[in-house]
């Protein structure tokens, strides 16, 4: 039996430590992991908990991220709670197995500390890795602070392991800006946290020798489509209500409220920035300052990237006149993911109700984005509202040196 850790009501944790505590409190049975900046401290913290008697599960240090997820898949299919963490190149190496995990309906939890993808090699935070996995069939929850990484780290097990869902879950946080920034984190006592997450309930477990199961079968044109269609149907119909239920329980327990789409000053807003990760907090500061100047500015943040909450997005943008979609990943060959998703969600709105939408690429490789940059974007949105059309190029870059690279 692992020792209980006494926690203060508020601990000073960075995002990585917060994530590691969520794994410890969920009493994960197997962690198979491989270190990579900036997610390394998650597995280091976990190893330290293990070394001091706070973990009684297995901790398997493997030889690559591909093996980390492969080991997680084997462990999960065996019938127990499984989690790991990664970033960037490691995430890219894992991609094959991400699809296998979701296709085999295994509720693994993966903490992704977002980081740029090379080349050029870069260790800092952007959302290239997070975007890479968006078709992989995982539930993707985005967090904006260490507190959220901790809270959603616990919620993730409860959502993914539900027998109607049975899908793996990624909990994202921004490399360094969240993962290495210590903040006050409100804690939950070990026993309370474990009671919230609940006992793991196995299904088709390989270690159930009375009911041997075959995992990872072959299907061709005869059955592959039915499997994938069912997987997508469950992702699109089962995850949202379950997540809503889990978030409601979590609010009951802690008072902290989470929604699929978070809105800040957005109810009566004319101009809105929509973004992911730590940029949400900076944008909220910018919007607040503009509110003091009488400008109706707001922020809409996507909490649940997959399954993309189209209706909530549409609802959040009702009455808004102009939107800036901020993507922290180079879309390489199209417009940013958020632009496409948001525009797609809003296409069903009536022509005269649909806000103007423009796209900003920012923060690649950890490049800073400041309140001033965000206020400048709001100014461009106001100009769009006044003109009744997008006055800027459709896709612009924020805070990049050299000639102006905007286009479209």
């Amino acid at each position: 039996m692992a020792d209980t850790m006494e926690l203060k009501d508020v601990e000073v944790w960075d995002g990585n430590l917060a994530s590691a505590h969520s794994l410890r409190q969920a009493q994960v049975d197997v962690v198979a992991a491989y270190p990579i900046t900036p997610s390394t401290p998650i597995v280091e913290n976990y190893a330290r908990f293990l070394a001091n008697g706070y973990i009684d599960g297995e901790y398997v240090m493997v030889e690559s991220e591909h093996a980390a997820m492969s080991g997680c898949i084997g462990a999960s299919a065996a019938g127990g709670r499984v989690a790991t963490a990664t970033s960037s190149q490691g995430y890219a190496l894992m991609v094959e197995t991400l699809y296998q995990a979701s296709g085999m309906r295994l509720p693994i939890v993966l903490h992704v500390v977002n980081r740029a993808l090379g080349a050029p090699l870069n260790v800092n935070g952007d959302h290239s890795d997070m975007y890479l996995g968006r078709d992989s069939g995982w539930i993707q929850l985005d967090t904006f602070s260490p507190q959220e990484a901790y809270d959603l780290g616990l919620c993730a097990f409860k959502i993914g392991e539900d027998h109607d869902v049975r899908l793996p879950v990624m909990v994202h946080q921004d490399g360094f800006l969240s993962s290495h920034t210590a903040q006050g984190v409100k804690t939950i006592a070990d026993d309370v946290a474990y009671d919230f997450v609940g006992e793991f309930k196995p299904m088709n477990a390989m270690l159930d020798f009375e009911h041997p199961a075959t995992h990872g079968v072959q299907t061709e044109e005869d059955w592959h489509f039915e499997h994938k269609a069912r997987q997508q149907y469950d992702l699109m119909t089962k995850v949202y209500p379950k997540t809503k239920e889990v978030f409601a329980e979590f609010k009951e327990l802690t008072g902290r409220e989470y929604k699929m789409v978070e809105t800040y000053d957005a109810d009566d807003a004319d101009v809105v920035i929509t973004a992911l990760g730590t940029t949400v907090e900076t944008a909220r500061v910018a919007a607040k300052q503009l509110r003091e100047e009488g400008i109706k500015a707001g922020v809409v943040a996507i909490r649940m990237i997959r399954p993309f909450p189209m209706e909530d997005v549409r609802e959040a943008f009702k009455g808004v006149k102009a939107i800036a979609t901020l993507d922290r990943s180079s879309p390489h060959g199209t417009v940013g993911m958020l632009y496409n998703e948001v525009a797609g969600a809003m296409y069903q709105m009536k022509d005269n109700e649909r806000p103007l939408v423009s796209n900003y690429i920012y923060g690649l490789g950890g490049r800073d984005i400041t309140v001033k940059h965000l206020k400048d974007i709001f100014s461009e949105l106001i100009a769009n509202v006044e003109a009744g059309s997008v006055t800027t190029p459709l896709q612009q870059y924020v805070n990049v040196r050299g000639p102006k690279l905007s286009f479209l």
């Binding site: 049975d29 197997v30 198979a32 009684d56 599960g57 297995e58 398997v60 240090m61 493997v62 030889e63 690559s64 591909h66 093996a67 492969s70 080991g71 997680c72 898949i73 084997g74 462990a75 999960s76 299919a77 065996a78 019938g79 127990g80 499984v82 094959e96 197995t97 296998q100 085999m104 196995p202 477990a205 390989m206 270690l207 159930d208 020798f209 009375e210 041997p212 199961a213 075959t214 995992h215 990872g216 079968v217 072959q218 299907t219 059955w223 499997h227």
Partner: protein, 318 residues
């Protein structure tokens, strides 16, 4: 401690309860199915099995059917060792936590992979799993070619074989590279038990599988799997060709304990020539042209030298 299954004769062996069903899509005459049955029939213990992408996997788990009456998993081409060792880690965790569904069982963890999955694409995963010391057995089904995808060369393909990526032609004798000594490489990991087996020598093989299953820690078994389709021989001749392989010492049967102690487990009464082994297979047909015959002669020299080396290592006990 698990009970060692007693098997007196071939009849008893071939009629024992199957956890690998004859209903599968492997080619008639495929040695894979013989090897898998010999592995599974060597024990009565519960099994957790994995298979790499390849002939065995695509022919035995085609939805909605399965040939496996045991827990089984396939993830990808390269990671069958990691799949089963992940399950082994879960077993240890749940045992410690008192959460096993059937705590009185003594399951064995066995991974299968073809030579492509083992010698080539999955080598890193295999090496990592051995380094970590999981309690499992890895069985390489060594047919010296990527058979599932139509006969491309692998790291196990011997020099001179004609494959689809190294075909024999007017100016080529086929594969140019020597077969990799994976048994030696796995022994160099310090694994407690490593052995080479052949399904035609079923008593030797069963003994080694049973030794492997009762050994704690990672065990590597290289199983020669004569491939009727890619080696090009009649499906009825699988065992005859396998006999030629073991009697010519192209596939010597031996074991290495703790990476050091080598025991030769089969000494042919009449050692036959490599030429006879090659002559039975279409993949070497072109080597019998006068301009290529030196390849056969060189093979014979290498086989003689390897037999000498194995005997000297056995004597030296180091």
């Amino acid at each position: 401690m698990s009970e060692i299954k007693k098997i007196k004769n071939l009849k008893e062996f071939s009629t024992s309860a199957d956890r690998f069903e004859g209903a599968n899509l492997l080619c008639p005459g495929c040695a894979h199915s013989i090897i898998v049955r010999e592995v599974l029939n060597a024990t009565n213990d519960d099994l957790v099995l994995s298979a790499a992408t390849g002939c065995l996997e695509v022919c035995t788990a085609v939805y909605p059917y399965t040939s496996w009456d045991a827990s089984w998993i396939h993830i990808g081409f390269e990671n069958s060792a990691t799949a089963v060792t992940g399950a082994e880690a879960m077993y240890k965790a749940l045992k410690r936590k008192g959460r096993l569904l059937q705590p009185d069982r003594n399951p064995k963890f066995v991974a299968f992979g073809g030579d492509g999955a083992t010698y080539d694409i999955g080598f890193q995963w295999l090496s990592g799993a051995f380094e970590r010391g999981h309690d499992f057995m890895y069985v390489a089904l060594d047919n010296e070619v990527y058979a599932n995808t139509g006969g491309q060369s692998s790291g196990s393909t011997p020099i001179g074989a004609s494959t689809t990526t190294a075909p024999a032609g007017r100016v080529s004798y086929g594969e140019k590279r020597l077969k990799k000594d994976l048994v030696g490489i796995m022994a160099a990991h310090g694994a407690p038990y490593v052995a080479q087996v052949a399904p035609n020598k079923w008593k030797d093989m069963t003994k080694k599988i049973q030794t492997g299953l009762k050994t704690e820690g990672p065990v590597f078994i290289n199983a020669m799997s004569a491939c009727t389709t890619e080696w090009k021989f009649d499906p009825a001749d699988t065992i005859a060709v396998s006999d030629l392989a073991t009697d010519s010492l192209v596939f010597p049967l031996y074991e290495i304990i703790n990476g050091r102690e080598l025991n030769i487990t089969y000494r042919p009464k009449n050692i036959i020539s490599v030429r006879d082994y090659m002559g039975a297979q279409g993949r070497f047909k072109h080597l019998f042209k006068p301009e290529n015959e030196y390849i056969i002669d060189e093979w014979q020299k290498r086989v003689d030298a390897e037999w000498e080396r194995l005997q000297r290592r056995e004597e030296a006990r180091v």
